[in-house]
Each structure stands twice: as structure tokens, then as C-alpha cells.
Symmetry: C2
Amino acid sequence: MSHYLNYAIQLAEMVEGQTGVNPPVGAVVVSQGRVVGLGAHLRQGDKHAEVQALDMAGAEAQGGTIYISLEPCTHYGSTPPCVNKIIDFGISKVVYAIKDTTLSSRGDQILKEHGIEVEFRYQEAAMRLYEDFFFAKRNAMPEVTVKVSCSLDGKQATDVGQSQWITNKAVKQDVFQLRHTHDAVITGNSTVHADDPSYTTRIEEGKHPVRVLLSKSGEINFDLSMFQDATAPIWIYTENPDLSANQEHIDIIYLKECTIERILGNLYSKGIGRVLVEAGPQVTSQFLHSTLTKELILYYAPIIIGGSGQHQFYQTDEVLELSQVPNFEIVRTDMLEQNIKVQLRKK
Amino acid sequence: MSHYLNYAIQLAEMVEGQTGVNPPVGAVVVSQGRVVGLGAHLRQGDKHAEVQALDMAGAEAQGGTIYISLEPCTHYGSTPPCVNKIIDFGISKVVYAIKDTTLSSRGDQILKEHGIEVEFRYQEAAMRLYEDFFFAKRNAMPEVTVKVSCSLDGKQATDVGQSQWITNKAVKQDVFQLRHTHDAVITGNSTVHADDPSYTTRIEEGKHPVRVLLSKSGEINFDLSMFQDATAPIWIYTENPDLSANQEHIDIIYLKECTIERILGNLYSKGIGRVLVEAGPQVTSQFLHSTLTKELILYYAPIIIGGSGQHQFYQTDEVLELSQVPNFEIVRTDMLEQNIKVQLRKK
């Protein structure tokens, strides 16, 4: 029975997508058979989950156990190390679900030297929260999720660009939730010009992602409604040094080479920990081919489109060797009304 | 989408069974699209969930929304009214899942007079937490759950009293969890003498229930191992004015008439909000027949016992009219390894 550890993981899930380049973490302090403190890491730079939970517990933490979704930190970042706080509050035992492979020093040793029992108890549900975070932190790159809405035969639109058929209400709601849990949405210039989408989150008290637009040429029509809408910042990556915008919510970021690696590296340096790619075939295909993309979410509408295939969501210059084709494993599938959602991970 | 309200309900579930005669409540403060405070009511007499969440949020609560599993209180109990705290922290909106029918005054009006938007948004999952609480509070009686382990033909033991066949490991674990989330376990004297059970919670950091023993006659063998075990208090209800015990963890409570109503009323006055009945056919049958019992949990082992029927779990003096038979609705069924768990509610 790991119900308290599961509570810590549930708390981490409640703040997923709001901690920037920091991991979402939850903590529960238990003493004499009851919860005496609950905590979660609410925002990059804020108190860690352990500190929130210990502060709620106060003197009741003395002699108790703290359950944490992730190994407690040992370093001075924007906040002091959590191991110190755990020692100061007189905790007797620390149970955590996932080892933090990005820490430079091990907290276990420090805690044990202070007479605190430490137990690492691996939980699959927590690993789902952290495996992409570890990969992203090692590479100093955001976690990348590619989202595609398509027909059963893999097309994002008809030959004449009609794509209204994908917008079933349940899928729409699910996509709003995805945007809410990502710091930024990446799209391409041609998609914005074709669809004039908003990329906002229309869920209750949703957090809008930064809207990132890729446009090497910088040939942008600033009259489109997205540019008039200041709901969330727009960051435009371009190779055009002359591009400029005179609206406060639009930033132009000039890169000599707008490769996926450089754009993602730049986004990470600005605190963007999780990006969602919602774009047309060109940008989508580049991200799917990149080793930096770890997650793919497909929404299938129950239609087959056929046609010439120009809106096929994965496009390559030539027919690839099967050994070069991106391989995925299916994590789960769901019915969303009459659409199918498939979540996949890059192998 | 009520994901924040669902988080509040999840937090309430995390503290279910540790709040005595108070309801388990969870609260989430959200501001600018992110969670800024989490709270739960940790113990009877402690800070309410709203206060915990607002304290975590601090200044970030200003202009935010608080989501609460239950309508906020307006009265001075062991803590000041939550509506005052909500007003003081500058919250703009209150969303709650269940109306508290036991409150003497409505908080909505007070909050609205202070310019706070209030939304009642009924959630079925939260009602599960509170309907028995409301019933119990109105009656000043604890919530009563009867647990029965039996064969497919409804027997708790063979004619010679063998009952080892019910103790599959998954069921055992589930029963430990039940004990953990109840303040007291009620049993009868004959069961204790036949089985010498411990009634403790052998889950990690489990909270042991008070062990309540019903014995009208007071003919008790204090040599049994349960009486030697001081893990949790033992309260003995008896009609025998001469009964006494010389161990610190054993209390004798004399009642002139040991009816279910009087025993439950007395338990409630001592702060017991939830009781679990784990007894033999005699005590079990009385509770099942009582209108105060609202929940029944059956664990079926995959055997049929037959025999003379003396250990049938529901026994009455005469054959009842069908109109007098307790009626239940099935809430859910689960497989626990090769046993079946059925949760029912009295109609």
C-alpha cells in the first residue's frame, strides 16, 4: 500500500504544466496515521512541494514521514535545499517515488547522516511525470509534444484545405486542456495564414500558452486576428533581420539559422519547459523527425479523406528506409465522443 | 470543465476518515490560470481547508478563485468562519460542489454582499463524501458502515465456526484501509471470544480505529490477546454496572439500555464520526436492520458453504415481510483477486 505516495503524485499532477522548466512535484506529510501537511510546487522559483507541506504541518511534522513524488533536492537554486528543511522539521522518514537523475549530489546520504530513514519506492505513475523532464533538463531543451488532428487516413485537411471536420467538441476541450498544461504552442506561418487560429485555452481559468510562430522568411500579415489578440504573448522566430512588430505582445527573435534545436534551446533559456506543436504538415513533420520530440498525440476523426495527399501529416522528401522511420509505442487510447485519441511515445 | 473543483474533491478524499465528526473538505485557490494554494481539513478542530489553501496562496489569492468541495462555513466553531477569511484575502469568486444543509446561515449572501461571485456547481463525486455526513450530523449519530465477509451463500463461517477461507490477501488489505478511514470499529463479545481479532490497521502509517465492544452481560475474558494489546483504545459498552477493567487503554461505558441508538449517540458525543461494524451475525443483523446504517460492504469468497445456516450474516427472529426487508442499491463491484467486493447503500 502506497496510498500516501500516490497522494503526493496526485498533487504533482494537479500542478503539471505550471512549473516551467522545473518539475511538477507533490508532497504529503503524515504523522500518527493522518495527513498533517499537503504541498505542491506551484511555480518556477516558488517554494518546493516539501516546503509547502512542512509549513502546513508545522510542529506536527516532528517524527513524521514525508512522501514526495520526486527525490528531494540538495542544492541552492532559487530556494534553499529541501533536505535542510526536512532535517530542520524533525522528519523521521522520507519516502520518494523517483530518483532525480539531474541532481549533482545525492540527498539520501545527507538525510541518513542526520538519522533520517530514506526509502526510494519506484512508481510508474510518477515516472510518466518525469522521464521527459529529465531528458529535457539534460539537453537544456523543452519537453516536446506534437499534436495532430487527422482523418483515419492521416490527413489534416482536404486538398482544398478544409479542416472543420476535426473540431468535435470533446476533442476541442481536450486540446484546450493540452494548451493549458504547456508553456508554449509552436506553429508555422502557413498554418496561421490558412486558419487564423487563436491558440488560447478556453477552459475555465485556463493558463494561455505563449504562441510561438516560426517564419524563416518573416513574410507575415500582421492584420490577421491572432496578432490583434493580446491574450497571450506571441514570439516570432525568424531568419529575417529586418522583421519588426510594433505591438507590445509581439516579440521578434532573430536567429541566423532557425533550426528546431536552436529554437527549442532559446525557448528553454526563456523558461519554457513544455511545448506543444500544433501546426501544419511542414512544421509537424520536422518535429516528428527530430529526436527531441518524445510524445505524439493523434486525434482521429471517423472519416477517410483520400485525395492527392498534400495534407498528409507526416511528409518526407523521399521514401524513408523502414529503419529510419520514427517508431512509437502506444501509451493509451480513448474515445472522445466519436473521435479516437491515441497517445504515443517515441521509442 | 471542472478540473479545479475536482482537485478540491480529490484533496477532500485524501483526508477522508481523519476529521472525526467534521466533514472531509478540500480547497484549491487559482489565480491567473494556475494553482496558487492547496488545502484540506486535516483534523477536527484544526484549520479548515479554505484557510489552509488561502494561507499557502498568500497575496496571490487576491483576485483569485477558490474551489471548495463543500459550501464554506459562516459560524464560529472551533475556528472562525471561512467566509471572513475568503473576504479578507480578496478572493473574487467562490465555486463549491455541495451545499451544506447543516449550516444555520447561508454564506452565499454574506460573500455576495462583499462583491464576491458565488457559484454552486453540484458534483456527484462530492455528494458521496457528504450525504452520510449530513444524515449523521442531523441525527447527532456517526456514519455507519457494515462490513461482511461471507460465502456466496451468505455465510460468515461454517457450522463449526471456521472462517479462515475469507482471508484472501487483497481483501485483508482492503479491510485495513476501511479501518484506517473509520474512527471506530464495533464488534460483539461473542466474535471477540471466538476469533480473538485485533481490529488494527496494518497498512503503512495506518490510523487505528477505537475498538468498540458490545457486551450487555459484561461477561468478558480479559485474558484474550486483544485486551493485552494497547495499540488502540478499547471501549466496552455494557448494561452490567459492576464491570470494570484495570488497564489504561480499556474504558467501560455503562448504559442502562445498550440499544444501537444510545451507543451510537454516545460515540458521536465522544467525537466518533464514522464507525465500521465488523461483527458476527447477531450484531451485524441488528445494524443491518437499523435505519442508522447507510452503507454495506460485502466481500464474497468463491465458495458455497451450506450447512444449517447458523452463521448466515443476516438473521431475523421470524421470516420478514418483503416490505420490511432492508433494500439496497449496488454502488459498485470490484474483483479483489478471486474475491468479489460489493458496495451497497441502504435505500
